[in-house]
C-alpha cells in the first residue's frame, strides 16, 4: 500500500499587509478543506474524487478567487475556468468561460468522463453543463461586494493587467506601468496590479491516495479586470494542472508566466528526465523555469511526499500526509 498525501492552495502572491483577521479566516478555510480531504483519504476515497471534492469546497466558499468570489472581468462579469487530471492514464478535462455553473471543477470532470473531448469553453461549455444537469446559478451569485470594490480599485489604479515584464511592442504601457508600481504600494506588483488589489488567483489540490494514484485539480476566476475571453493557466493541462503516474501538481500566480514555462508538466518532467525527487523538482522549476514571473506550486508524489514552492510574497496553502504531518501556512 502506498501512503496518501494531500496539498491544497488558495493562490500565491499575498499582500504582506493583509489584515490579521483575513489571514486567520484564510487559514481556517484551508484547514477545513484540508481536513475534508484527509477524512476522505482515510476512508479510502480515490485521489480523483478527493481533488474534485476539495476544490468544490474551495469554490463554494467566497474567500478565494474561484467559483463564488471569482475575480471580475472588465465588464464586471465572472468567467471561471478549471481543470482536472487523473494521473492514471493521464485523462483530463478542462473548461473556460463558465458563467453559471456553480462548481466549474465538476464540469471539467464531466468533460473528462462524459464527452469525447478534453476541453470545452464558453457557450459550448455552458450548454454541456445543462445537458449534464449540473447545478447552475445566476452569474450574480458569483459576484461579491469585495470584488466589485476591487474591480473599481483596479480600474482606478490604471492597471490594465498586462504581463508587464514582457515588453509590449507598439503599445504605450508606460502610464499603466507607472500606476501599477506606484510607491504607495511599496512597488509590489502581481500581474500588473498593486499587491493590495491583486486577488491571489486560483485554488487547487493535488492528491495521492493509498493505492498510489495521483490526481490534481485547479479552479479560478482569473485576473481582476481581465479582458473578456481571457484564458489563463488554470485550465491548461501542463501549465496550471498536471498529473501522471509519478506525481500531481497544481500551480497558481501569474498565469502568463506559468503558461510560458508549462510549469506543472515541468515539475513532472524534471522528476522524469532529470531524476530529481519531488521537492527538488518543485524548487528547480520555481527557481529555474519561471522567467520573471511570480508563481507558486503544490505537488504530491506517488510515494506519499508533499512539496510546495513559491517565489513571491506568500502562498495560501495546506498539506497533510498519512504519517500525521499537517500544516497550513501563508508566509515562508
Amino acid at each position: 500500500m502506498a501512503r496518501w498525501a494531500i496539498a491544497i492552495h488558495g493562490g500565491a502572491g499575498v499582500d504582506p499587509n493583509l489584515p490579521e483577521s483575513r489571514q486567520e479566516e484564510a487559514k481556517r478555510l484551508l484547514a477545513r478543506c484540508l481536513q475534508a480531504g484527509v477524512d476522505m483519504l482515510r476512508s479510502g476515497a480515490a485521489a480523483l474524487d478527493v481533488v474534485e471534492a476539495v476544490v468544490r469546497e474551495l469554490e463554494t466558499d467566497p474567500f478565494f478567487n474561484s467559483g463564488r468570489g471569482s475575480a471580475l472581468t472588465r465588464r464586471g462579469t465572472v468567467e471561471m475556468e478549471a481543470s482536472i487530471m487523473d494521473g492514471r492514464g493521464r485523462r483530463c478535462g478542462a473548461v473556460s468561460g463558465v458563467s453559471t455553473v456553480k462548481n466549474p471543477v465538476s464540469l471539467a470532470r464531466r468533460v473528462m468522463d462524459k464527452s469525447p473531448h478534453s476541453y470545452l469553453a464558453f457557450d459550448g461549455a455552458e450548454e454541456f453543463a445543462r445537458e449534464q444537469g449540473l447545478e447552475t446559478v445566476d452569474n450574480s451569485y458569483f459576484i461579491t461586494e469585495d470584488n466589485v470594490g476591487m474591480l473599481k480599485l483596479a480600474k482606478e489604479a490604471g492597471a490594465i493587467l498586462f504581463d508587464y515584464r514582457i515588453p509590449l511592442t507598439g503599445t504605450d504601457t508606460c502610464s499603466a506601468l507607472a500606476g501599477a508600481v506606484d510607491n504607495k504600494h511599496n512597488g509590489m506588483v502581481m500581474n500588473g496590479l498593486p499587491i493590495s488589489i491583486y486577488a491571489p488567483e486560483t485554488v487547487g489540490c493535488a492528491v495521492v491516495d493509498s493505492t498510489g494514484a495521483c490526481a490534481a485539480a485547479t479552479s479560478t476566476g482569473g485576473l481582476m479586470n481581465k479582458m473578456t475571453g481571457r484564458i489563463g493557466d488554470s485550465p491548461l493541462i501542463g501549465s496550471g494542472t498536471y498529473a501522471c503516474d509519478a506525481c500531481a501538481v497544481s500551480c497558481t500566480g501569474e498565469g502568463e508566466a506559468i503558461i510560458r514555462s508549462t510549469l506543472a508538466r515541468d515539475v513532472a518532467a524534471v522528476m522524469e528526465y532529470k531524476g530529481l525527487p519531488l521537492q527538488q523538482a518543485v524548487d528547480y522549476c520555481v527557481k529555474e523555469r519561471l522567467d520573471e514571473g511570480f508563481a507558486g506550486v503544490i505537488a504530491v508524489s506517488k510515494t506519499g511526499e508533499v512539496a510546495y514552492g513559491f517565489n513571491c510574497t506568500g502562498m495560501f496553502r495546506g498539506c497533510a500526509t498519512e504519517d500525521g504531518f499537517m500544516e497550513v501556512g501563508i508566509w515562508e
Binding site: 469525447p116 478534453s118 476541453y119 470545452l120 464558453f122 479582458m227 475571453g229 508549462t262 508538466r265
Partner: protein, 323 residues
C-alpha cells in the same frame, strides 16, 4: 547552424490510395509554402515572421483544415483556433473559437504583442479582432462544400470525429476499405516551425479542429506545450488526435527532453512520438542548430522541410515519397 524550416498540413490515417485530386493540390500548397518560407529566411526575415507568413498561406488554402477549409462543428459552424510562440523570449499568443477572422494565426500574434494576456477565446477574441482591425469575413467564407458533406457523413455515421482525409463517399476508390467508425484522428491542422539565420526559433499552429466537434471544444493546437511550443533550444508544432496530444504535452515534451535530459532534437522527437499512442501524433520541429524532425506515428503526415544547406523534402507517407 543556418536557417531551417519545416511545415505540416496534418497527420493521420491518410490512405495510400488518396486520389490525385485530393493529393496534388495539397502537395502543391506545401511546395508553395516551403518556397515562400525559404525565400523569407534567405532574405533574413525573423523566424516569427516566417512562421506567421507560412501559416497564413496554409490557412488560405481550402484543402487544409485551418482558416478557409476548416471543418465544421456539430452545429455546422466553424470555430478556428491558433497559437504562435517565439523561442528566445517564450512570448506566446493563442486564440480559440474564431468564426470570422480570416487568419487566426495573425490574431494569435496580436494577442501576444498587444494584450497583457496570452490566450483569448470566443466572443472576447472576436471583439479583440475588431478592435485591432484585422481582416474578417462572413462565416460562410470558411465553409467549403466538402466540409458540409464531411459533416453530413459524420452525423450519418454518428461519428463525433472522423478522419478529415478520408475520401468522401463517391470519391472513394472501390478497393478502399470503408473508414472505420472508430477512426477518430484529426488531419489537416497546419503548422510551421523555423529557425532563422540568427538562431531565433518560432512556431505556429492553426486548425479548424474536429469534424462534428461539440461547439466550444478546444483542442491541442492553441494549448501552449501541447500542440505548440518553442524555447531557446527548439520549436515544435504537433498535429493529430488533440486529446492525446494534450495529455502527453507533446510539444513541450520534445523541448523538455532536450533541456532536462540533454537529448538531441531527433532523439527527443522520436521518443515523444513513440510514447504517444500509435496513430495519434505527428510533429515538425527544428533546433537552434538547424536540425529538422518530422516524426509521426500515423499512416502519413503532409509535411515539408528545407534547410540552408539546400536539403529539401516534401512528403505524405514514408520519407521522401512525394518528392
Amino acid at each position: 547552424m543556418g536557417w531551417a524550416l519545416a511545415l505540416h498540413g496534418g497527420a493521420g490515417d491518410i490512405p495510400r490510395t488518396l486520389p490525385p485530386e485530393s493529393r496534388e493540390p495539397r502537395l502543391a500548397t506545401l511546395r508553395r509554402c516551403l518556397d515562400l518560407g525559404s525565400a523569407a529566411l534567405r532574405d533574413g526575415r525573423a523566424a516569427l515572421d516566417v512562421v506567421e507568413l507560412v501559416v497564413r498561406e496554409l490557412e488560405d488554402c481550402p484543402h487544409f483544415n485551418a482558416g478557409r477549409g476548416s471543418v465544421l462543428t456539430a452545429e455546422g459552424t466553424v470555430e478556428m483556433e491558433a497559437c504562435v510562440m517565439e523561442g528566445a523570449t517564450l512570448r506566446c499568443g493563442a486564440v480559440s473559437g474564431l468564426s470570422t477572422v480570416a487568419n487566426a494565426v495573425s490574431l494569435a500574434r496580436l494577442v501576444m504583442e498587444k494584450t497583457p494576456h496570452i490566450y483569448l477565446a470566443f466572443d472576447g477574441a472576436e471583439a479583440f479582432a475588431r478592435d485591432q482591425g484585422v481582416e474578417t469575413r462572413d462565416p460562410s467564407h470558411f465553409i467549403t462544400e466538402n466540409n458540409i458533406e464531411r459533416l453530413r457523413q459524420a452525423k450519418a455515421a454518428n461519428r463525433v470525429q472522423i478522419d478529415y482525409t478520408q475520401p468522401l463517399k463517391g470519391q472513394q476508390a472501390p478497393q478502399d476499405p470503408p473508414a472505420p467508425v472508430d477512426d477518430n484522428c484529426q488531419t489537416g491542422t497546419v503548422g510551421c516551425v523555423a529557425v532563422d539565420a540568427a538562431g531565433n526559433l518560432a512556431t505556429a499552429t492553426s486548425t479548424g479542429g474536429l469534424v462534428n466537434k461539440m461547439a466550444g471544444r478546444i483542442g491541442d493546437t492553441p494549448v501552449v506545450g501541447a500542440g505548440t511550443y518553442a524555447n531557446a533550444l527548439c520549436a515544435v508544432s504537433a498535429t493529430g488526435k488533440g486529446e492525446a496530444i494534450i495529455r502527453h504535452t507533446v510539444a513541450r515534451d520534445v523541448a523538455a527532453l532536450m533541456e532536462h535530459a540533454g537529448m538531441p532534437l531527433r532523439d527527443a522527437a522520436a521518443r515523444v512520438v513513440a510514447a504517444t499512442p500509435r496513430g495519434a501524433v505527428g510533429l515538425v520541429a527544428v533546433s537552434r542548430a538547424g536540425e529538422v524532425s518530422m516524426a509521426h506515428n500515423t499512416t502519413g503526415m503532409f509535411r515539408a522541410c528545407a534547410t540552408e544547406d539546400g536539403h529539401e523534402e516534401i512528403g505524405i507517407w514514408t520519407d521522401g515519397d512525394a518528392l
